[in-house]
């Protein structure tokens, strides 16, 4: 809040009106709808519906496909976040050190931010195409018997690889600017005291990057939860047998393709609760734990 403020009756309402209007129509209304529909059960033709209290939630929570998808989502998100953060931190540390070609490396490593997730998914799909994909052939020529179309683990590997590839650039941008924010004098003093670059990294640089890392962890988890929809939809489509369907992908499949409105809405509401908890956790817990 500003110390000095305007006191005016109509003007602030005029300024905030467009945003509130759009939020009411395209956010509050659909969100309320989702909650309402999650308590309804529609017949097969969508002609009538009845109020069934928490039955949709019971059905969702007790269905093995939802639990399976929830487990996959958690494993997938954690792996994507950890792998892409590690990889980009590694690259950012090196990119921060080089003098020659520093700008070119930065450009080469950050441009991927602009790639749409479904485009990344298609590129991955192409590399793993059994007809002509280079990676598919390479893995099989090493004798892995790689088959992501039938094997759930292989399919998971493909989706994770694509998701990591897409996310490296974002993490890289944040780590590099975090590293450049560390005063040169601190690094020079550390170099005098300790010759090992690796120990310097763990004792000086990494603790200074802790806030960035925690922030990126949250960003990456949200990314893996929601934005990987495009990647999954064009690479595995959740196959084999729903083994690579995240919760968000399942909401879409059940709601639009399966036309199970009540069940899909119940899943939406469950997701809303999960995301809200994550956000509160982010604000309450992480902000306090990290020393700036």
């Amino acid at each position: 809040m500003k110390r000095v403020q305007f006191e005016h009756s109509a003007v602030p309402y005029l300024f905030v009106a467009p945003q509130i209007l759009i939020i009411s129509i395209f956010f509050l209304w659909p969100a309320a709808q989702a909650v309402y529909q999650s308590f309804l059960l529609e017949d097969a033709f969508g002609m009538s519906s009845q109020f069934v209290w928490f039955r949709n939630f019971e059905d969702v929570l007790s269905s093995s496909s939802w639990t399976r998808s929830a487990v996959f989502t958690v494993v997938f998100s954690v792996l994507v976040a950890v792998i892409s953060i590690t990889l980009s931190l590694f690259l950012a540390v090196r990119a921060d050190e080089v003098i020659r070609g520093a700008k070119s490396y930065r450009t080469m490593l950050m441009w991927g931010y602009a790639i749409a997730p479904p485009v990344a998914g298609l590129l991955g799909n192409m590399m793993f195409n059994p007809l002509m994909g280079d990676l598919y052939k390479a893995f099989n020529s090493f004798g892995f018997e790689f088959n992501h179309i039938q094997n759930a683990n292989d399919a998971t590997f493909v989706v994770i690889l694509i998701a990591v590839w897409k996310q490296v650039s974002v993490n890289f941008i944040f780590f590099l600017s975090g590293l450049q924010g560390i005063p040169k004098s601190v690094q020079e003093a550390a170099t005098l005291d300790c010759k090992s670059a690796e120990r310097r990294f763990w004792t000086i640089t990494f603790p200074l990057l802790a806030p960035t890392t925690f922030f990126l962890l949250v960003i990456n988890l949200t990314y893996a939860f929601f934005e990987t929809f495009g990647i999954i939809d064009v690479s595995t489509k959740g196959s084999p047998g729903g083994a690579t369907a995240t919760l968000v992908y399942k909401v879409y499949v059940d709601g639009f393709i399966g036309a199970d409105l009540g069940g899909s809405s119940a899943q939406s509401v469950l997701l809303m609760i999960m995301v809200s908890v994550l956000t509160v956790f982010q604000f309450r817990f992480i902000e306090r734990k990290v020393h700036y």
Partner: protein, 284 residues
Amino acid sequence: MYQSKWRIFTNHTILILGSLFMIMPVWIAFASSTHTREFIFQNGLQFWPGGHMIENYGAILFDPSATKGRVTALEMLFNSMVLGLGFAIGKVIISMMAAYAIVYFRFKLAVPLFWVIFSTLLLPLEVRIVPSYEVVANLGLLNSYTGLILPLIASATGTFFFRQFYRSVPDELLEAARLDGAGPIRFFIDILVPLSVTMIAAIFIIMFVVGWNQYLWPLLMTTDDQLYTIVIGIKQVYNSLYEGGQIPQFPKAFALTVMATIPPVLVVVIFQRMFIKGLVETEK
């Protein structure tokens, strides 16, 4: 700072490998898009460009049959441009105004309205996708630019960014402006907006890329080919690759992929410094 020869050598090796990791998939797509479909079908993906670039790209840009529908890639690019620009412009204007009201005014509903705006951060569009679709359908906005853009604007990321920025603007500016007799609207237009120019540019670039890359929402919204954005167009082309028992049109699908990637990548690379600044500041 002292660096050993070995460290310098490994630094470059690692960075070159990292860059190759990022670039190879797109390069292979580009190289493969410049061959005939028979050649790709027989020989697999290519690392080196062939001689059919103009032919393939020309076909997809201007001939609707090459993209398996009634629209050419040129029209899809136009739709993507409308979505990217419309989303970025709408988002910047609406969130600047809302943030101004929240930061600079004392009014009754300030706190509840702030929480309403904040709540949009909790529930991304993906989570409430089915009811959002129904609402837009009820309003008769399916297959329209309005229906495509407005629901995407209903999240408050931009508002928080401008709120953060306004709070860093010195209070003295407002005091001085008031002494000179400037009202709230005059202060906004003549002082605050000119002050925010770099920030506006940065957030505009980010939002353009975000808008251009939208997938799930346009996929549901646009059943009419005429409104396909290029990202959606690619999916349709890939889906119909194996139809009709002919040799799959891989080169043209790759060409479309490359074309979808070029505009946002160019924007990000050209405005790199501004873009990074915006991204890093926004998230703080």
